[in-house]
Symmetry: C2
Subunit: 143 residues, 2 copies
Amino acid sequence: MEKYLAVLKEHHFKITPRRKAVLELFLREKRYLGPYEIKQMLGKASLEVGLPSIYRILEELEGSGILVKIEHSSRRLYYCLCRKPYVSHHHFICSKCNKVEEVEFCNFPEISSFIEKKLNARVQHHSLHIEGLCSECRWENSP
Amino acid sequence: MEKYLAVLKEHHFKITPRRKAVLELFLREKRYLGPYEIKQMLGKASLEVGLPSIYRILEELEGSGILVKIEHSSRRLYYCLCRKPYVSHHHFICSKCNKVEEVEFCNFPEISSFIEKKLNARVQHHSLHIEGLCSECRWENSP
DNA sequence: TTATAAATAGAAATCATTTCTATTTACATT
DNA sequence: AATGTAAATAGAAATGATTTCTATTTATAA
């Protein structure tokens, strides 16, 4: 927690109860969360936070490298905690329980140099979405 | 064109002027297109098509493997023609001119087996978004 | 303690996308 | 070529996630 608060300070954000509460939520939950879901969870803990605030806080936390935005097929916004910032890696998403796990492996340079040679292009960004069933869910029967 | 019409027939879709017009548009343009943009382009060619129809046609063409949905950071819907269906590959998107090019290379099995071993998970889907400047745009000065 | 820039709530707006329904059309079968 | 029918379509309206706006409150540096 302290680590993430320090990151926020570095980015000149004030440490407010809402930001802390959102951070705590992500530290507790291993799965990705959406704005409205977050509002409800905070509400249960008696902290009313307006949706616009939540959207803004999520953006700020993402901009600080603390959260990662999930490109979900439903096209709604989701975020998850990034436990290894500054290290090139990807995230594996369980399509059943929404758990997100770090994948400390990235073979992107290979495909990147292929593109630069073959298409004579300049690669700037990439994002990989990997989905499946996590170690727990893969053995469960369908709902 | 005939090739794509045959695919539509296989999927039991009727060959209508709207579907043909949308297909023609994508055959002519090498870049990704959005629903409203498509409506305007068809309108200029004196074919008025309702937006709901365009959304539906795009979905149908995607479902038939003719178009590919682009996961754009703006979170709006975009589609581009997939010139190599049935072959595992990716698409490179030029962030300046929106051109989409096929990348006949996929090293996903490597990262996939890494995940299956390390996380003991079952990988189901993946999608890779690769963005940069194409061979033409990389030499141009910023707008 | 105070000043002030940042953070927030809540209402309202935005706008891409979807739904609904009446009408039209492609095309298989005569 | 004519016809019947399911599929396709337009247009209006609804939806709903996300964003904007503004007045108020708050964290924190001085």
